[in-house]
């Protein structure tokens, strides 16, 4: 999963103009920036924040889907969901590793998540209330994540770009698998169809909010664009997602819960597109700021796992130290 277009670059930096210009020239030449390269402090801070937030989103994102592993309705679906949630953990791991190349530890990042200092994608503060949510989350949430992440495969920072290439392959598999779950429900019993429509009703708006505020409201995204950390605006990505998703919903015989949605010939430079109705930004900011039904529960669950695992991590460190000491004594 991905953060939601909230991260603007932090342009504060103490480097001189010549240094910044030379750095910008490398970016403009599409050179990849690698961990050992000199980089502006603001660039480093922005990436740490963005990659960390992205990693946390993968980890917190394991919870809403994990909620259905033990109730999956068939053994095939149980195995597929378990594998999917495991993939998300793997994404978290690559991303923490990418952030570590910038000089921050996974432990520090985890502490920031648990203290509330670091954010994660707000979409995971919504609950999964039925099996259909598992399909809809794969289809829409992983689908929105892909829209956000494909451009990141060309991000100027090498380790992040490379991590994203691997992540994107798996996300597109998740998206197809989610769509296939929803298709099975849409072609199933009346109760299954109703379950699918209900889940779409609940997840549609939060999914399109995942792209973040409108461009006119989105602070400091210009610096991120200049540094090629971000390549498309929030609204452009949102439009791309909607245009791809609406026909998929129609194909399933499901209704996108936006009564104002119309085909508009003028969108996308005259190629046409679906114009969506007004987004409830109060709802968006309420959930981002902690007022969603699951915000507290998500962090509580992560904190519980972390706190209850402390003695295990401690024992692993102590055992490794003992082994090293014994080995030294034997030599």
């Amino acid at each position: 999963m991905y953060s939601q277009g909230l991260i603007g670059a932090d342009g504060r930096t103490k480097e001189d103009a010549a240094f910044l210009a030379a750095f910008q020239a490398r970016i403009d030449a599409e050179e990849k920036i690698e961990p050992k390269d000199a980089m502006p402090e603001g660039y480093r801070r922005t990436l740490i924040r963005q990659i960390g937030q992205h990693a946390h989103s993968e980890i917190v994102g394991m919870l809403p889907e994990g909620n259905w592993i033990t109730r999956a309705p068939s053994l095939r679906r149980k195995a597929a969901l378990l594998a999917k949630v495991q993939d998300e953990g793997g994404h978290g791991l690559y991303l923490y590793s990418a952030a570590e190349t910038l000089g921050v530890s996974r432990e520090e990042m985890t502490e920031e998540l648990l203290s509330g200092k670091a954010k994660y994608s707000s979409i995971f503060n919504y609950p999964t209330l039925s099996w259909a949510d598992i399909g809809i989350v794969g289809w829409l949430v992983d689908g929105a994540a892909i829209m956000n992440q494909i451009p990141l495969c060309r991000c100027s920072y090498g380790p992040y770009a490379r991590a994203m290439i691997r992540v994107c392959k798996e996300e597109s598999f998740h998206q197809r698998q989610g769509y296939e779950i929803v298709m099975t429900l849409a072609r199933g019993t009346e109760a299954q169809k109703a379950m699918a429509q209900d889940a779409l009703n609940r997840w549609w708006w939060p999914s399109i909010m995942m792209f973040g505020p409108h461009d006119s409201e989105s602070a400091h995204s210009e610096q991120s664009m200049a540094w090629k950390i971000k390549r498309f605006s929030n609204d452009a990505l949102r439009q791309k997602f909607i245009d791809a998703t609406v026909p998929q919903a129609e194909f399933l015989g499901l209704t996108v819960p936006d009564p104002d949605m119309v085909w508009d010939e003028g969108l996308n430079d005259g190629k046409g597109g679906y114009r969506h109705g007004p987004i409830d930004w109060d709802e968006f900011w309420r959930v981002v700021k902690g007022g969603g039904v699951m915000n507290r529960d998500r962090i509580k669950a992560r904190k519980k796992a972390w706190d209850e695992g402390a003695w295990v991590r401690e024992a692993a460190r102590a055992h490794a130290a003992k082994r090293a000491a014994r080995k030294m004594a034997a030599e």
Binding site: I59, M62, L63, G66, I69, T70, R71, A72, P73, S74, L75, R76, R77, K78, A79, L82, A83, V85, Q86, G89, G90, G92, L93, Y96, R106, W131, T184, G188, T189, A191, Q192, A301, K304, A305, E308, G309, A310, W311, V312, R313, E314, A315, A316, A318, H319, K322
Partner: protein
């Protein structure tokens, strides 16, 4: 013969599904991210083996029951898993020790099953034997780390032994159905695994500085469907959605 073979296959399948389900309960809640990946890995292996065993049992039975009918539509008195695998996860020490006890048994068992007279079973065994070798390695490493880690972790590990050792005897007991399948050369004899199991476990216990427990009251009954109280809750959760929509396709 086919009826007892079906029963014996269900015993094995239930062991794998129930333990896989227990491991899957950890997903997203493990002590570290690496374990959030490793535990589902093992769960996937176990659930995969269960699916193969259920499908095969259903096909021999010949009444049209598939893997999901067998997994989702039998109640706790019909489940035939041994008691060890249904034990609640407890803490991480208990989960790892339970895994080591089970995998330490299944490794020689699958090894021997590769010489079964039954070709399908040989195929299931050949796949499982590779997976279970990793389960032993992973669980053994943790039992050693925790047993020989800090005072606190050693206490957790010792408690895990006290909690779980009494369920290990049942691994070596063959139900009448299993005994008949064993006599027919379809399945390995459970009792014969004791030597290999004890060698594996004793070596890990020594490295983990854990005491091998004295004789305890062995607990059994799973093969007759006489379980502890935890299994009913596990099945209630696992089967709820499937049972709420009879006949639906997922």
């Amino acid at each position: 013969m086919s009826e007892v073979f079906v029963t014996a296959l269900l015993e094995l399948a239930d062991d794998h599904l129930v333990l896989g389900h227990r491991l899957s309960e950890w997903c997203g809640h493990a002590p570290m991210l690496e374990e959030d990946l490793a535990l589902p890995n093992m769960a996937l292996d176990l659930i995969g083996a269960a699916r193969g065993l259920y499908a095969y049992a259903g096909s021999i039975e010949g009444n049209g029951r598939g893997e999901d009918d067998l997994a989702y539509l039998r109640g706790e008195r019909e489940y035939l898993n041994c008691l060890l695998v249904e034990r609640e996860n407890g803490d991480f020490a208990q989960t790892m020790l339970r895994q080591l006890y089970f995998a330490g048994f299944m490794e020689p068992y699958w090894q021997a099953a590769m010489a079964s007279r039954d070709e399908t079973l040989r195929g299931i065994a050949a796949k499982a034997v590779k997976e279970v070798a990793y389960h032993i390695r992973h669980a053994a490493e943790w039992v050693v780390r925790l047993g020989d880690g800090t005072e606190e972790s050693a206490r957790h590990m010792a408690e895990a032994v006290e909690e779980l050792h009494r369920f290990t005897d049942e691994l070596f007991l063959s139900s009448p159905a299993a005994a008949a399948a064993e006599a027919a050369g379809l399945l390995p004899a459970r009792a014969e695994m004791r030597g290999a199991w004890e060698a594996t476990l004793r070596a890990v216990f020594a490295e983990a500085r854990l005491d091998w427990p004295d004789a305890v009251w062995p607990q059994k009954g799973g093969r007759e469907g006489a379980h502890g109280e935890g299994l009913g809750h596990l099945l209630a959760e696992m089967q709820s959605l499937h049972r709420a929509h009879p006949g639906a396709v997922w």
